[in-house]
């Protein structure tokens, strides 16, 4: 066996391993990843999590806004805490998301997620989940109700009648 031949065997072995690594991945797993691009938007302003009643430092702690410089290493802006660390479940969890011109406040109840956009104005909220989007109307006082509470990761895309578009980070409750 010459050295070049043994190099060939190594290369072929590595190629076999590489092809196998992709072959064992279920196609649904790949397709679900591709479908996530539906939620890529260029137009909307990203709102940062500025308050979470289940925040990392306990009840009523404001979440730190994303540090863009640390994004590669940072925890994603909104991560659910382990159940044990959550406050009394009888209290409603509330969160605020702030962009330069709009604030989205939400409160998570057992039956529904209720929210308001500030300053109050009419518009539409789109609940973006792994599945299909659900458009929810926002009334003239800025109120909206999402029923039931989305079970998995979701984010809210808010489009106001005045033309503002704001997007929250993904939220996992």
């Amino acid at each position: 066996v010459t050295s070049s031949w043994s190099g060939d065997s190594e290369l072929l072995g590595a190629l076999g391993e590489a092809l196998e690594e992709a072959r064992i991945v279920p196609r649904r797993f790949v397709e679900a990843g591709k479908a996530a691009f539906t939620w890529f938007t260029i137009d909307a302003e990203l709102a940062a999590l500025t308050y979470d009643s289940a925040g990392p430092l306990g009840l009523g702690t404001a979440g730190a806004p994303d540090d863009p410089a640390a994004l590669l290493e940072a925890e994603p802006a909104t991560r659910a805490l382990p159940r044990a660390a959550r406050p009394n479940p009888a209290e409603l969890r509330s969160m605020s998301f702030t962009s330069s011109r709009l604030k989205i406040e939400i409160e998570i109840g057992a039956d529904a997620l209720r929210g308001q956009i500030v300053p109050p104005q009419r518009g539409e909220i789109e609940v973006q989940t792994a599945g299909r989007p659900h458009p929810i109307p926002v009334d003239e006082l800025g109120w909206f109700v999402i029923r039931p509470v989305p079970p998995g990761a979701f984010r809210l895309h808010c489009q106001t009648a005045s033309g503002l578009a704001v997007l929250t980070p993904f939220i996992t409750l």
Binding site: A18, F29, A69, P76, G152
Partner: protein, 198 residues
């Protein structure tokens, strides 16, 4: 030599502009890495699906802010790892298990996440280079890498070619593969493959 295969930096740049095909190529390339991380934590298929879903949603969310697109595989692996740990922690059966134990409870504990990323990047480059080979080379390599292995006689039969020509053809195809610029970073100066088997 083809240079059509885009780098991850190019793919991220295109996806940021809204190019769906570039996004899909990113997912095709690195879904095996995310899957591999899930498997390290022995997640069931449905749990791995959940983690994968979250990882790609988080990438969509952070796509515009990624400072180092070249480091995307590492970002994906760390995000997948974090989502796996989060899922295991939230699982009632695992509630009392400390993070340190969860971290140690991986398959192949000797292999660090960084090592998994390196192997997976190399594998992605190999698959991309494979995808650029002529069809007959792809067919030959597909047959040569079957498990359990096929004999040359079986391969010759399936390809409708004389067994005697397979050796030289194999060498020619491997040479084409090796000369693909995608693999440049994974080859020793003398042309042998770096690292050998993981």
């Amino acid at each position: 030599v083809s240079v059509s295969e885009p780098t991850v930096v190019t793919l991220v740049a295109r996806a940021r502009e809204g190019d769906k095909a570039a996004w899909e190529e990113i997912v095709e390339r690195y879904a095996p890495l995310v899957w591999r991380v899930c498997r390290r934590y022995r997640l069931s298929d449905p749990d791995a699906m959940d983690v994968g879903q979250n990882v790609w949603l988080l990438l969509v969310e952070h796509l515009r802010q990624l400072r180092e697109p070249a480091a995307l595989p590492g970002w994906l692996a760390r995000t997948a790892q974090r989502e796996c740990l989060r899922l295991l922690r939230s699982d009632k059966r695992q509630l009392a298990v400390a993070d340190a134990h969860l971290r140690e409870a991986v398959v192949e504990p000797d292999l660090s996440t960084e090592a998994v990323v390196l192997i997976s990047e190399r594998n992605a480059a190999l698959r991309a280079a494979f995808g650029e080979l002529p069809a007959d080379c792809q067919q030959l390599f597909g047959l040569l890498t079957q498990d359990p292995p096929l004999s040359y006689a079986q391969i010759g039969e399936r390809m409708g070619r004389a067994v005697g020509g397979l050796g030289p053809r194999r060498a020619r195809c491997l040479d084409k593969l090796r000369r693909n610029p995608l693999l440049a970073g994974f080859l020793e100066p003398d042309g042998t493959f770096k690292g050998g088997q993981p």
